[in-house]
Symmetry: D2
Subunit: 351 residues, 4 copies
């Protein structure tokens, strides 16, 4: 029998992508979708591209009501702004639902860090100890046992997957890490703000949120877990005119210096082995070979993060580059991947 899923806040881009995945998931039935602004309308009216799916023609958006949803769904996805997500998580958890939260509310262990980066007290600190950061390639076993998943942010996924294995293996230093990221416009959400109008984004490239983006908090907390010491990184996001996709370029300092071609080759062998051990059998991480470099167009529409690296013997640095679909591996796809794990489905089901 299929699990029953609900999505609270299904009218944004991440919510829409969750709808797409869950409509076609072999082990889950979409039982409820909520949206204040679209309440009463069928999924097919709001999202014409799903109109050929029978459920989309019958399922209507409702107002978000935790009690009502708890009766209809076994798993509830929260695609809501931070702060608001926790308000729903509390009663849903109490009612026995599995909660997969796509907001930032349960990503941090530290309420102090939450306050520093999100400017408010944590709305449900009592749940933090139950929450697992939903990065399956890193926390798979904990995810299986959890009932409250904090799906990682889009930028953090593109940074953590490349860096964590290197830190764990001691191959790079935990200091001086720089992440330069480029994101498509869907990352800003479906907000009717002039900054994200077509004519303001098309033929435009711009940095924003420099130097202290909110995602730094979860990135640094997760990197610290991997490194065993506190980590502070440099992170610069840029907005580029594509619908989807994040490309991140990372600048890292190998623990061992390499000046000769032989040293570089030896270090390269260790990096190759490190990534192969970490991701060689992962279904959703693609280690590029040969001269290939990541390109968002090769991952958009998939739950895959692709990754390549180069050693620069001129500067002594390791450059790692990753590409992902910000709405799938960076949000909804990864959330479903976690759901698959904790529900006991095949990890790739529906993805």
């Amino acid at each position: 029998m299929k699990q029953r899923a609900a999505i609270i806040g299904a009218s944004g881009y991440s919510g829409e992508e969750l709808v797409r995945i869950l409509l076609n998931h072999p082990h889950v039935g979409l039982a409820a979708v909520t949206s204040r602004q679209n309440a009463g309308q069928a999924l097919s009216q709001v999202f014409p591209r799903f109109a050929s799916h029978p459920t989309a023609r019958t399922l209507r958006f409702s107002d978000p009501d935790a009690a009502a949803l708890a009766g209809k769904a076994d798993v509830v996805f929260l695609a809501l702004p931070h702060g608001l997500a926790a308000e729903y998580a509390v009663p849903l958890m109490a009612a026995g639902c599995i909660v997969i939260d796509l907001s930032a509310d349960f990503r941090l262990h530290s309420t102090a860090t939450y306050r520093e980066f999100y400017g408010q007290d944590h709305p449900a600190p009592q749940l933090l100890s139950q929450a697992v950061y939903g990065l399956p390639e890193v926390h798979r076993e904990q995810i299986r046992k959890s009932r409250l998943i904090a799906a990682p942010g889009c930028y953090p996924t593109s940074i953590l997957l490349p860096v964590i294995p290197l830190l764990r293996a001691g191959l790079v230093r935990s200091t001086g890490i720089i992440a330069d990221s480029l994101s498509g416009v869907s990352g800003a959400g479906r907000k009717a703000e002039a900054d994200y109008l077509f004519c303001e984004c098309n033929e435009s490239v711009r940095p924003y949120g420099v130097p202290k983006h909110r995602h730094l908090s979860e990135i640094e907390e997760q990197l610290a877990l991997a490194a065993g010491v506190p980590v502070t990184i440099q992170f610069t996001p840029h907005l580029i005119p594509v619908n989807r996709g994040i490309l991140t370029t990372l600048y890292l300092a190998p623990t061992d210096s390499f000046s000769s071609p032989e040293e570089a080759a030896a270090l390269g062998v260790r990096i190759t082995a490190c990534y192969a051990a970490a991701y060689g059998t992962e279904p959703f991480v693609r280690l590029l070979e040969g001269r290939a470099l990541p390109d968002t167009k090769n991952v958009v529409g998939t739950n895959i993060l692709e990754l390549a690296w180069r050693l620069d013997s001129r500067t002594g640095r390791l450059i790692v580059m990753s590409a992902e679909d910000n709405l799938i591996k960076g949000a909804s796809g990864q959330a479903v991947q976690s759901m698959n794990l904790l529900c006991g489905f095949p990890e790739t089901a529906g993805l």
Copy 2:
């Protein structure tokens, strides 16, 4: 009386932009344009957007012939591949023409570096001592006296203008500099290669040329001049789906550390003063104020580079960001700016 100008290799994107500028220049008349593939056709046929200009309807592309051009033009712009440009520069200089070269042939002082980065011996080393690197904000007086200008590359301009004043003032270290650059597709030229087809670039973002792009050679040579010591930098170019524009994000280490807000503020005052001294009266450098950050859409179509910076007290780094039109300030506009200087025209004429 107007100076007579010729463009050798006028059918590429930089050449087309030169045509646009020179057709409307108050002190220059466009006397000849060459292109092997378009020889015989009028400018207006090849570039319909210029068809309303009378010269564009009468001036026809010719085959490139240095002797013939030397008789027709006082100033000759070379918009040719490296290696080939020098072949034309030699006879044109001998014939008394002013030569403004947009290729890499005369940008480096070191023939060894040329060989390392361009894979061939320098084709005209005897001219190197006469060539001036055409970055007017840095080498204005030398440009005025020169007759052979090496117009800088597009990426180098976006990196050198932000970094040179800081190095000269000793405000940042000459080591550990990282430049992460995003370029529009016109930077690849008008080459009929599958990699630059619309469907291969649209909805795509990708790094390339990692880790050793050719432009590193001129960037490092110019930075070394400013720093007084050899400089090695990290440089990663990315291709993004816009026609024009380069956005560069630079990661720099201030010489003096700053940990308290007071120290950061004091350092900020010095950086502000440094840039104001360097560029406060420059017509083509725009120092952004307040919360503004560079955006390529605010400079495309102009000869302006815009620049903003932020101190990150979490990491101790200085982040500097610049935006320019790769075909104008990054190529043809800057070439005309140099021509204006050495011909004694107002520096902003036609720009």
Copy 3:
């Protein structure tokens, strides 16, 4: 001495384009710009791309106040929604200002048609007899004598310039005309609506306003003037993912049928002669020759409409295609062209 110009509603796309043109106009000084939302801010803050112009750094947006503006400006441009524009026109005309209105308020002679298409009574019918439809290639002499100009809509310009000469010459029938138009997103204005977000427009093409777009009213009124009989046309606008540009394809029935190549050739000669007579010396209409077809990229950034036509002997139809920049020839450029005429400046000044 320069004329003093003001722009009411200068923060939209047409207003911004007017600012650009007037900042660089040789015979006009920009004396005032208004915008409720930006009141108090300098032009350079709202539009960073103008920040290098001295006026942009000193001129601040004010609240729109007709009385105050009448004292500051000789010519006032209204870049306002319909209905609102007339409210400003009345006091400004009374105060002796020249008014150039970019809204629809004074484009129609018939108040009944205004009511039918705009859903409200005309706000200032007493001014209609003074207003001239600002299509210089068609109504040049009337424009010279007017003090109230109704600048044409973007779609109408792309349709009227191709069709009017043919109707006047009796070469095509006034019945059965079809206009299929494709517009860039700036045509929708700088409105923060979800429909015009980057992700909703990028990788999307869609018709809208089918079958009765408001612009039909002025198109049909102007075509009727040219034909001498009432004209009803079919018009379908489409939204395409470019910032600027309108491409219109027109399907027309020649008055004389043509079945043999000889008849087609003879008709072609007459069409060529008709367009040459109408536009051969016009600075802002480009008649394409040979195999060239219109392409918005060849007119964007200019005040030029380009035009080509083909006779289809299979169907007996004449196909005419035009391209223009919707914000320049389709709005602000054409408005300035009219201002030039009525102020006695060279028609091309500043354009």
Copy 4:
């Protein structure tokens, strides 16, 4: 047991899309892919986005050799230029393979029309009587019995599906039909030609092939079959800057005039009934309701054509608009739909 499929010419955009579909098809295994230029390389090297599929890592491109392929595959898809496709079809048919041709070679019944539109004699006229035009919604039963399918062109699909039911029902006249189509750039194929470079297509809209595009031949032949009389239509294709998608706007004359709202309503009921009868249960045609109009973004990535219509009582015309993915419903998806029918698989398998 799975059918074995081969794709000849798998390196273009249609071929790549076929690869995507067939790699995931439940009843077909991809046994061979050919490409002269990529021979020897694995699918995953040429198309990194498929690299996570095991077959893509092992299957290598081979040179196209009909005899060798006949031994490896039960069904062979030809994604080749016209003329060349027939050369492969002949031996493959002789060897007993099912052939699904995506070129124009078997779309026309008339060899004279082929010669007129393709400029050469038909290369395999003896096979024409066996070929079925692969438009499943129109020729389903014939497709089931055929072993040689001519998959329709992209533009024809977007025109034929909307028009055929109306012609069959006698609701519109067979004369005076106009089709105005907008296509994404992938329609031009993966050809390294300057016209299709990013910078030539981005921020550009342009008509082309006016007035006699090759696709007219198959459109008119199929419309004539539906109407029972010869049909000549007007067709104008335009190139727009999206990767994928065709939007077609059709102008049709209803057989019965309608001048009153009652007559329009009555005619509307008949059109609704006509389309419901034709497509109400079709899995790949979506009849839009209410105020919805087609938008390519709602069909891209799917095998669905969506369709809406409006009666214009001002002009007496019926406007029908359709949207499809040119590479799926307009090419590879529809080809697989036909394969599903003739192989006895569920029609929607893999789509």
